[in-house]
Symmetry: C2
């Protein structure tokens, strides 16, 4: 019996450490899941093959598709994929349109990946706006926030759709039965919020989802819910703020250490402990952020993605396809 | 020559440690600034006088005005001041209307203080919406975010007014010449944002303020600007998120310590260092958050306010009056 492998296109040129991290991560994934996936590295063929060769690697489920252009951080997010039709981004996404791949992952220019994915793949039938989810590690499990930047101006029904898509994702990817959904707002009471959330509250209440009401900024890291919905403008600002907190702490530690040798020793000791304590906050290990609502699979990684992060993104992409997340979204929205 | 003292009404009953912290802070302020301020403690006369007596304190610039009711955290923010007309909140604010006080400070129910101040004091001529500012300690100075909860649904001109009021506050209270103003958004480019910020950008550009463009979530703690403007919905969520981060870190430290005696020792050592490192993040020392745009002076403190925090709030109130912040706001808005 031949089981069709899930085909995952990897943007080998996107990311701060591309193509090394990308290729190494792809090799790991292809090796670990030899029976289940086929990894298609998209980018500069020579460079990619050189790295594969350096790893003495010969895997028949690891393919290379050449792409001569590279989308960089300097390219305009909105039209990079058009301006550079030969880029690993455009070529990699097009594989899904041509039914040569089932999913695409990239750690490149986030805005460009987002625009290209949305415009090239189109939307799942019935979905008004796509959404990106980002995982926040919490005291009590995992919370994913939708949206963190795909749709900045939202109407109430967009937040409802984010809640539906987010619930399906948490259910089928993280095996959480009936994920609790919270609406990000400025107070717990139903009467607290802005025009958008007050209306969205009413839709969520009668949605059939496991909606538990409003959650506040202080609840994001506390694991009160598995899905937090908000417009992409707020979500993006909170995500970037959260990511900056650890950097600021590190900088504060350095400043303190610079004040003398005793401080330096204290910081050296404390820092090791801090690192252990906050390793749950390591955004790299979670397999990227999914773009939901597009008619295909696209997962966006952090620019700093390590080989491990890339491998995890590939596995996440496989699960998204094999567990039929998009089919479930289409069915849920239809209701 | 008689210099009129600035009269500051203090809500003695508002706060987690009321009236002790409130009265002790008032005594400190009255003592330190004997020549310049008169402190009016508003609340349960007997309890207040008992605490004053226990401090063997007899200051002629420390007065008591009785108020028999107390607004608690269970009272509805929007109408607590009406439902409890005899409360320290209502009586304390009314002193400004009767020209018996120049300012009011409270560490009580934030929403109730906000509503009461806005509705009882009214707005400065020309101001459309009031705003609350919250200070974020940064790597490179001080940044204040406006708005953090007074006005959740904003129009572009509201953000312009917040920028004007915030600039005046940072200029006259923190002595920062031409404070840099940033508009909180999802990208640095002018073209990035939501409908609200794209319009507000245009107004800020031609405002005559020291507007430096958009700032992102990651910039909030980096001190790139002194004034950050955003709608009160986002500002409130970010503020509460920021406040929760340290709590979450503490909880993570505890969990790590619970895993064994070696961890416990490591955490004990690291924790002392962490405390030193993050003491700039101590929101208590900054003298409360000002409510700007109301026709009077109202400063809102953290529920946990210590005597030191209360003292700092009183001094902040004195400066707000003596430096004519409201007059400067009125003049700026008129332009």
């Amino acid at each position: 019996m031949v089981i069709n492998k899930i085909r995952i296109a990897v943007d080998a040129m996107g990311g701060d450490h591309a193509p090394e991290s990308q290729v190494l991560g792809a090799i790991q994934a292809a090796r670990e899941r030899f029976d289940k996936i086929e990894v298609i590295l998209v980018g500069d063929e020579n460079k990619i093959k050189e790295i594969i060769k350096s790893q003495s690697c010969s895997l028949e489920n690891l393919l290379v598709v050449n792409a001569s252009e590279v989308v960089t951080m300097d390219d305009s997010p909105s039209d990079a994929f058009k301006v550079k039709p030969g880029s690993s981004l455009t070529v990699g996404l097009k594989l899904q349109l041509d039914d040569k791949a089932d999913a695409f992952i990239s750690a490149g220019n986030t805005g460009a990946v987002l625009s290209a994915s949305t415009l090239m793949l189109g939307r799942i039938k019935g979905v008004s706006r796509p959404t990106i989810g980002s995982l926040f590690p919490t005291d009590a499990g995992r919370t994913m926030m939708f949206d963190v930047g795909a749709t900045v101006d939202c109407r109430p029904n967009h937040l409802l759709e984010f809640a539906q898509m987010g619930s399906i994702y948490m259910n089928y990817i993280f095996d959480i039965d009936k994920p609790r959904v919270g609406l990000l707002s400025v107070g717990e009471e139903k009467s607290k919020g802005n025009d958008l959330t007050l209306e969205a509250y009413k839709l969520l209440e009668t949605s059939g989802l496991n909606f538990v009401g409003n959650v506040e900024g202080r609840d994001v890291l506390r694991g009160k819910v598995e899905v937090i919905v908000c417009d992409g403008f707020i979500g993006n600002i909170i995500l970037k703020f959260a990511e900056s907190v650890l950097d600021v702490l590190k900088s504060k530690f350095r400043q303190y250490a610079d004040k003398g040798i005793r401080n330096k020793i204290k910081v050296a000791m404390a820092y090791g402990t801090l690192k252990n304590v906050i390793k749950d906050f390591d955004y790299e290990e979670y397999g990227g952020v999914p773009l939901l609502g597009v008619n295909g699979v696209s997962i966006i990684g952090h620019g700093k993605s390590t080989p491990l992060a890339m491998k995890n993104m590939i596995i996440r992409a496989q699960e998204t396809v094999s567990r039929g997340v998009n089919e479930k979204i289409e069915a849920a929205i239809k209701k």
